[in-house]
Amino acid sequence: MLLRHTPKEVKERNALTVNPAKTCQPIGAMYAALGIHACLPHSHGSQGCCAYHRSTLTRHYKEPISAATSSFTEGASVFGGQANLLQAINNIFNVYEPEVIAVHTTCLSETIGDDLPQIRKKAINEGKIPEGKYVLGASTPSYAGSHVTGFSTMVKSMVEFSEKTGEKNGRVNIIPGWVEPCDMEEIKRMAELTGVKTIMFPDTSGVLNGPMTGEYKMFPDGGTTVAELKSTGDSIGTLALGEWCSAAAARELDKKCKVPCRVLDIPIGLAATDRFVDALRTIAGVSVADELAFERGQLVDMITDMHQYFFKKKVAVAGDPDQVIAMVEFLISIDMCPVYIVTGTPGKKFEKRIRELTDDLDYEVKIKVKGDLFLLHQWIKNEPVDLLICNSYGKYIAKDEDIPLLRWGFPILDRQGHQYFPTVGYKGGLRLLEKILNLLLDRKDRDAEESNFELVL
C-alpha cells in the first residue's frame, strides 16, 4: 500500500497536518500575476519559494513560468530585504523589460516586517522604475489563509491600476477566479455570445496555454493589459466569480471607483452556469443567444441520458472553496451524492455554504474545513465512495482504495488537458460529465463478469 500508515480510526489532530489539501499564499499570487500582460511576478523572499512555485506551476502547465526573486540571504533576513528588492527591480527592468513587476511577499519578508509600499516609494524616488512601467505589491504571508488567499490578494491589488475618468466604457469586468486559461477563454466566449463586452482580469489565457512556434516569448501575447486594468474603473459593473478568489477585488473596485459588483459562483455545472448566463443577459438586456441555449440543452441531454449511472453514486471531493461549492452543487443536481467534502483553505463561510447546499439531502455529508487528504482517506476507509474528485495527490488514495479518480483542481501533475479544455460553462459541464462517466463505466467494464459484460452502456 502506498499510504500504508493511514489508520482507519480517526483521531483528532490539533497541531499536525498530514497530506495537505492546500498550499501557501505566494503561489496563488504568482499565478494571478501571470494573468497580467507582460508582467513578471516577483517573490520577495528567499529564492526557494520562487523555485518551488515556478516548479509547481511548470509541472501543472508544462509551460515556462518566469518569475524573479529577492534571493534573501541571512544578512537580508536580519537587516531587511529593502536593498535586495531595490536591486531586483532595477535588474528586472533592465534585463527582462516587463511592463509590470508584481511583487508578492512570503512568510520570510512578512515575519521581518518588510514594508512593500515604502520600498516601492523608495524605488520610485530613486528612479528605478522607468517611465510608464509599474510595480505592484501584494502582502501574501504564507502563514495565513492558503494559495487561494494569495490569489485573491494579488487580484485585489490589481484594482490599484483602475482609474475613474467619469466616462463609462460600456464594459463589464469579469474576475474569473482561479480557473484554467481555457476556462477564462470559455467565460469570455460566453460573454461575447451574449453581447457583453468584457474586461477580464486576471487572464492567463494565451499565457499558460501557449503554442509551440520555435520562438520563446517571456511575455506572451495574452494577459490583461495595463490599459484594460486602468479602464476597469470605468466599467458598468463587475462580475466576481467565486467568493474566495474574486470578491475582494470586486468590492475594492466598488469602493474605489464606485463600480457596482455581483459575486457569483464559478460557473461550473448547470445551475451555476445558468446563473452566470442569466446575469450576463440581464446586464446586456438581451435574450440568451441560441448557441448558448443549444449548449445548455446538450448538457441537460447528457444528464438525462446517462442519469442511471450518476444516480446515488457516492463521491468524495477535495479542492478549493469556490470550485468545491460549484462542484458539490453540480453533483447534487445530477443525483450523485457528495458525502465527503474537504478543503484545506480556512474560512467558516465555506461550511455554511455547503450546509445550505446539502441541507435537505437524505444522507450524511461530512465536511472538514482546513481539512487534509489524510482525514479524507480515513473517512473513505471507514465508508468507501464510488468516485474521488481531487488534484493529482488523490491518486495515492485512489490506488490504495481502488477508487476511480477524477483529477480536478490544482495541481494536476500527471495528466494533460486541463489547460486546453474548459470545465466551466455548459461545454465544460459536458466535459466533466464525460470524464466522470468514463471513469464510472470503465470501472463497470473492468469489474463485470464475462456473463454480464455488456457492449451497450
Binding site: 500508515h5 497541531a15 497536518t17 501557501c24 518569475a67 533576513s77
Partner: protein, 549 residues
C-alpha cells in the same frame, strides 16, 4: 557532419561571453563575468572560476534554497524517517513527492516495512504561531505523529520563519526524544535563507545525519566487501541499478546516502570499509566525517556512463586488493558491455557529432558528459547550479577557498576519532601504494579538467544567459531542470531534465546507460521538432492559385 563543423567554427567563446552579459547593468555584468569561464588548457593548473556566491536579486535563477537541499535532496529519499516540516504549509507541500526518488519498502506485511515518503507532514504554522512562537505546536505535532504511526525516527525541518522567531527546534526535538523513549527525534536548522543555494542544506543534512544516526547500530552487517554509496539519490531507480551491479560483483552496499535508504542503513554505515562518493558536492562532508571518526577512506566514483561505471567498479575492487573480487568485477563488466556497445554503436550512427549543454546540480553536469561522450556527442557548455569551486577545479583548491559571510553561517562540526570504533582501514603506506596504482583516495579533479578547450563553463546559469546561449551556440540538446525546460523547448531545442529526469530512468550503471542512449536518441532525432512552422509559413506566397483536382 559538415553542418556541425560549420557550427563549431562559428563560435568565438570570447564573443559569446560578451554577448551573454551585454544586457546587464554594470555591477551585474562584472559579477557574472567571474562566473563564466572560457576553458583553456593551462599548464599544470586549472583555470579559476567563481562559484558558491550569492545569486543576484532579480536575476531569474535556477537555484532553490537550503531547505530544498536538506529536506528535499538529502533527507527526502529515506523512507522510514518521518520528515516533519515546521513552518507554513507551502514548504512541505512543494517537497511532497516531486523528486522521483524511488524506494522499496517491501510488501505491507513484512516487518520494518515503514515508508513515509508518500506522506507530507507539516505543523502548518499560523499567524499566532509566528507571533507567540511555534515550539509548543511543534512538540504537539511530534507527539501526534508518534501517536498516529509510531515511527522509529522523526526529523524536524526548519523553514524561514522558524529561525526568525527563534523557535529552538533542537531543544524541542531532544525533549521529545527523551519523552517518547523509542523514537529518535532530531532537527535540521535548514531555513531557506541560509547559505546561497541548496548546497548549504546538503551540508546541514550531512551534519545531523552524522551526529544523530550514523554509528547507532553496532549489530554486525555481513559481507566481505562492505561499502557505502554516498551521494546517490535513486532518481528514476538509478540506485536500484547500481545495487544490482554491486550484488552481481559481490560487493555489499551497507548504506546509500540517501537513495532507497532507511534509518538502519545510516545507523550501520560505520561498518563499511570504503565510502564510494558519487555526488561529491552534496555528501563529501559525511565522507570526511566517516573517515575521521571511524577510519573509513573514501574514493570518488561515478556510475553515470557505462565506462565510468566499469572504471568505478575497478577502483573499488582495486581498493580491496582482492584478486577474487578483481576477477569477478572483470567478469561482470565483460558480461554487461556487449549490450552497451551494441546500443552505443546503433545510437551513435545518429548522435555522433551532436552537441549538448548541461546545467545541473553539483555533479550531474559533470557526470552526464560521460554518457554523451559514449554516444559521440560533445559537451560545448556546462555548469553547476549550486557547486563550489572544488567541483569545478578539483579538491586541491579547498584550502584556498575563501570563507565568506554566507559560508561562515553553516555549521562545521568537529569530529574526533571514535574511542572504541576508530580503525583505519588502510595504513598510510597502503594508501600511498594505492595512489601509485591509480586508486587515489579523497581525490576529485572536478569538471573543468575533463572539458575541451574553448568550451564555456558557467556557474549558476540563469534564464537570460540560457536563452542567449541556446540562440548563439544552437546545441542539439540542452539539459537542466524543470523550470528551464519549457522556455528551451519553445525555442525548438530538445531538453532533458536532469534533476529528476521528468520521466524515464534509470540512467545510472550499465542498463541505465542504454536507457539514456535511447532517450537522447529519441530527443535529438525525433521528427516532432520539425512541425514548428506550418506549411503556409514555409511558403507564404499568396499569388499561387489553388490547384483543384
Amino acid at each position: 557532419m559538415t553542418i556541425i563543423r560549420e557550427k563549431m567554427v562559428q563560435w568565438d567563446p570570447v564573443d559569446i561571453k560578451a554577448k551573454l552579459i551585454a544586457k546587464y547593468p554594470p555591477k551585474v555584468a562584472r559579477k557574472r563575468a567571474k562566473q563564466i569561464l572560457i576553458n583553456e588548457a593551462l599548464e599544470n593548473e586549472t583555470p579559476e572560476i567563481t562559484a558558491n556566491v550569492r545569486t543576484i536579486p532579480g536575476i531569474i535563477t535556477m537555484r532553490g534554497c537550503t531547505y530544498a537541499g536538506c529536506k528535499g535532496v538529502i533527507m527526502g529519499p529515506t523512507r522510514d524517517i518521518v520528515n516533519l516540516v515546521h513552518g507554513p504549509i507551502g514548504c512541505s507541500f512543494y517537497a511532497w513527492l516531486t523528486r522521483r526518488n524511488q524506494t522499496y519498502a517491501g510488501p505491507d506485511d513484512t516487518p520494518d516495512n515503514e515508508n513515509f515518503m508518500n506522506y507530507c507532514f507539516s505543523t502548518d504554522m499560523q499567524e499566532q504561531d509566528i507571533i507567540f512562537g511555534g515550539e509548543k505546536k511543534l512538540a504537539a505535532a511530534i507527539q501526534e505523529v508518534y501517536d498516529l504511526i509510531h515511527p522509529k525516527a522523526i526529523g524536524v525541518f526548519a523553514t524561514c520563519p522558524v529561525g526568525l522567531i527563534g523557535d529552538d527546534i533542537h531543544t524541542v526535538a531532544a525533549q521529545m526524544k527523551e519523552k517518547l523513549g523509542d523514537c529518535n527525534v532530531f532537527a535540521f536548522s535548514c531555513e531557506g535563507y541560509k547559505g546561497v543555494s541548496q548546497s548549504a542544506g546538503h551540508h546541514i543534512a550531512n551534519n545531523q545525519v552524522f551526529r544523530h544516526i550514523v554509528g547507532e547500530n553496532d549489530v554486525p552487517k555481513e559481507g566481505k566487501f562492505k561499502i557505502n554509496l554516498l551521494g546517490e539519490y535513486n532518481i528514476g531507480g538509478d540506485g536500484f541499478e547500481i545495487d544490482r551491479i554491486f550484488k552481481k560483483c559481490g560487493i555489499t552496499n551497507i548504506s546509500t546516502f540517501s537513495g532507497n535508504s532507511s534509518y538502519d542503513q545510516f545507523a550501520s554505515a560505520h561498518q563499511a570499509d570504503l565510502n564510494a562518493v558519487m555526488c561529491h558536492r552534496s555528501i563529501n562532508y559525511v565522507a570526511d566525517m566517516l573517515e575521521t571518526k571511524f577510519g573509513i577512506p573514501w574514493v570518488k566514483v561515478n556510475f553515470i556512463g557505462a565506462h565510468a561505471t566499469a572504471k568505478s567498479l575497478r577502483k573499488i575492487a582495486a581498493y580491496f586488493e582482492d584478486q577474487e573480487l578483481i576477477n569477478r568485477v572483470e567478469e561482470v563488466i565483460a558480461e554487461e558491455m556487449p549490450d552497451i556497445e551494441a546500443a552505443a554503436k546503433d545510437v551513435g550512427t545518429r548522435t555522433a557529432g551532436k552537441t549538448a549543454m548541461l546545467f545541473v546540480g553539483g555533479s550531474r553536469a559533470h557526470h552526464y558528459q560521460e554518457l554523451f561522450k559514449e554516444m559521440g556527442m560533445k559537451t560545448i557548455s556546462a555548469g553547476y547550479e549550486f557547486a563550489h569551486r572544488d567541483d569545478y577545479e578539483g579538491r586541491q583548491v579547498i584550502p584556498n577557498l575563501k570563507v565568506d559571510a554566507d559560508s561562515r553561517n553553516i555549521e562545521e562540526i568537529e569530529v574526533e576519532p571514535d574511542e572504541s570504533r576508530y580503525s583505519p582501514r588502510k595504513t598510510p603506506a597502503e594508501i600511498e601504494a594505492l595512489a601509485g596504482s591509480g586508486v587515489d583516495l579523497k581525490k576529485y579533479d572536478g569538471m573543468i579538467s575533463e572539458m575541451d578547450e574553448n568550451t564555456l563553463i558557467i556557474d549558476d546559469l540563469n534564464q537570460h544567459e540560457a536563452e542567449k546561449l541556446v540562440e548563439l551556440m544552437k546545441p542539439d540538446i540542452f539539459c537542466a531542470g524543470i523550470k528551464e525546460k519549457y522556455s528551451i523547448m519553445k525555442l525548438g531545442v530538445p531538453m532533458k531534465q536532469l534533476h529528476s529526469y521528468d520521466s524515464g530512468g534509470p540512467y545510472a550503471g550499465f542498463r541505465g546507460a542504454i536507457n539514456f542512449y535511447h532517450e537522447i536518441d529519441r530527443l535529438v532525432g525525433s521528427r516532432v521538432f520539425s512541425y514548428l512552422k506550418a506549411p503556409w509559413q514555409k511558403n507564404p506566397e499568396l499569388t499561387a492559385a489553388y490547384v483543384w483536382e
